[in-house]
């Protein structure tokens, strides 16, 4: 009898020792078998958002208070310096405003002559960033608007200054926004005044980089980067950023909009690629 109990205990101890290895292999198997963009996973993920966003909203409050307190302290210390900078900026902006008004009139006149077709906006809404799924190894956000609110896959997200990314997954009430800084992000762009074609690649840093510039083309520091509109995912000529670093192989781009500091984004559907809508996965 004792021998039996001893044997059972030994088996239990062995199972307990083997269990972590089994789970390690199981995790590895999951990694190999389930693609991160498989429809079933996307469905389950959007279902999980429905459960976990309210929980995260509660957990968020203390962090929000601490961050707000720290920001308040920082603002209080930096107010005088910021005021000086703002005065200078205001002067510059007044000059730019005058310049802009005259250019706007001139532009409207020229467009009339060219019979230019404006990019139509199909729908538009503002939503809040409720989850930050990013970290050192990915950049991604969840916004609190989904299919029920009229969000569709491929909608573009804008901050107050410029475009920040696009919607890649749509759930019932939540959607996932992939910013330009995510390592999976690829945006066809034009660089500089002579509109050199390239692809803007995210690298999980604050500054994405350019790739696939033609052999003879070079990007100069300060060159404007705008979307080219190839493949129909982004409309053409949306300002994205400026070349920050002249690197012969991978010039870095400083974005006009820093998505990390945004709380709200404006989602706009330009209705560019209907195929994207067809591929959209039904929420559970």
């Amino acid at each position: 009898m004792e021998c039996k109990i001893f044997r059972l205990k030994r088996i239990r101890a062995q199972i307990r020792r083997l269990l972590p290895i089994l789970f390690l292999f199981f995790s590895l198997l999951i990694m190999l078998l389930i693609r991160f963009d498989s429809p079933a996973l996307v469905k389950t993920r959007s279902f999980m958002w429905e459960i976990f966003v309210p929980i995260v909203s509660v957990v968020r409050q203390p962090v929000y208070w601490v961050k707000n307190g720290a920001d308040g302290l920082k603002n209080w210390v930096l107010t005088y310096r910021e005021n000086e900078i703002l005065k200078k900026e205001n002067q510059d902006l007044k000059q730019w405003r005058l310049k802009g008004l005259s250019l706007e009139i001139e532009n409207a006149e020229l467009k009339k002559h060219l019979n230019y077709q404006y990019q139509k906006v199909k729908s538009e809404l503002i939503s809040e960033i409720v989850l930050d799924e990013g970290g050192s190894f990915s950049r991604s956000f969840v916004v609190n608007a989904g299919k029920n609110q009229g969000v569709v896959k491929g909608m573009l997200a804008f901050g107050p200054n410029a475009i920040t990314g696009r919607i890649v997954e749509v759930g019932k009430n939540y959607s996932r926004l992939m910013p330009f800084t995510d390592y999976m992000s690829r945006v066809p762009v034009y660089v500089g005044e002579d509109r050199k074609s390239a692809v803007l690649m995210g690298g999980n840093t604050d500054m994405p980089y350019l790739q696939f510039l033609n052999e003879n083309d070079t990007a100069q520091k300060g060159d404007l980067v705008v979307s080219s509109g190839y493949m129909g995912v982004y409309p053409s000529n949306l300002p994205i950023g400026r070349i920050y670093q002249e690197d012969e192989f991978t010039p870095n781009v400083v974005l006009f909009e820093n998505v990390n500091v945004l709380s709200f984004v404006r989602l706009i559907d330009f209705g560019l690629d209907e195929n994207l809508l067809k591929q959209d996965i039904e929420a559970p």
């Binding site: 789970f23 995790s27 799924e133 970290g135 991604s140 969840v142």
Partner: protein
């Protein structure tokens, strides 16, 4: 009787709930510092701590569940978080006989080593499955910060653990 039962349940659930709270907090949009993932290292610290000192209270199944949950919420490779979490648990368990009686300083050095291993695995698997090497700057900064400032958190976790034990 009921109070005792509640105490026991709380005693055994505490590590899991504590880690679950931090897994949820990982996805909070507010970051104390720019691009700094303040809560993910805490989950790994909790796993490390309980794998060493009380693996009955946070066993491998609970760790795996936490990992899968993080996988569902994060957009990266599915299974990577659970692999790293279980890996951390496994390594800590494996090293337990050698480091159990060591000082806090030595424990911390072992954690730094395991954390580095986790970060390397994270970067390597990301590259393996997506073909992209993510920039090392952010995770290196995060790693250095965690190794310098987070010992205090493990100390608090230990204190809380003892507090609940005393109740």
């Amino acid at each position: 009787m009921k109070v005792n039962l509640l105490k026991t349940v709380l005693y055994y659930l505490f590590p899991f709930l504590w880690a679950l709270l931090f897994v949820c907090a990982c996805f909070v949009p507010e970051r104390l510092f720019r691009n700094f993932h303040q809560f993910l290292p805490l989950v790994l610290i909790i796993i490390f701590y309980f794998a060493l000192f009380s693996s009955k209270r946070l066993n491998v199944i609970a760790v795996f569940i936490l990992g899968i949950l993080a996988d569902f919420l994060s957009p990266s490779i599915f299974g990577l978080n659970s692999f790293i979490f279980v890996g951390m648990f496994f390594m800590s368990n494996l090293l337990q006989p050698y480091i159990y009686a060591f000082s806090f300083k030595n424990l911390w050095c072992v954690f730094c080593g395991l954390m580095l291993l986790c970060d390397i695995l994270w970067a390597w698997f990301t590259h393996l499955f997506t073909g992209v090497w993510v920039s090392a700057s952010f995770w290196l900064v995060q790693y250095v910060f965690v190794c310098l400032f987070y010992p205090i958190i493990i100390w608090i976790t230990g204190k809380l653990n003892h507090l609940i034990k005393d109740i």
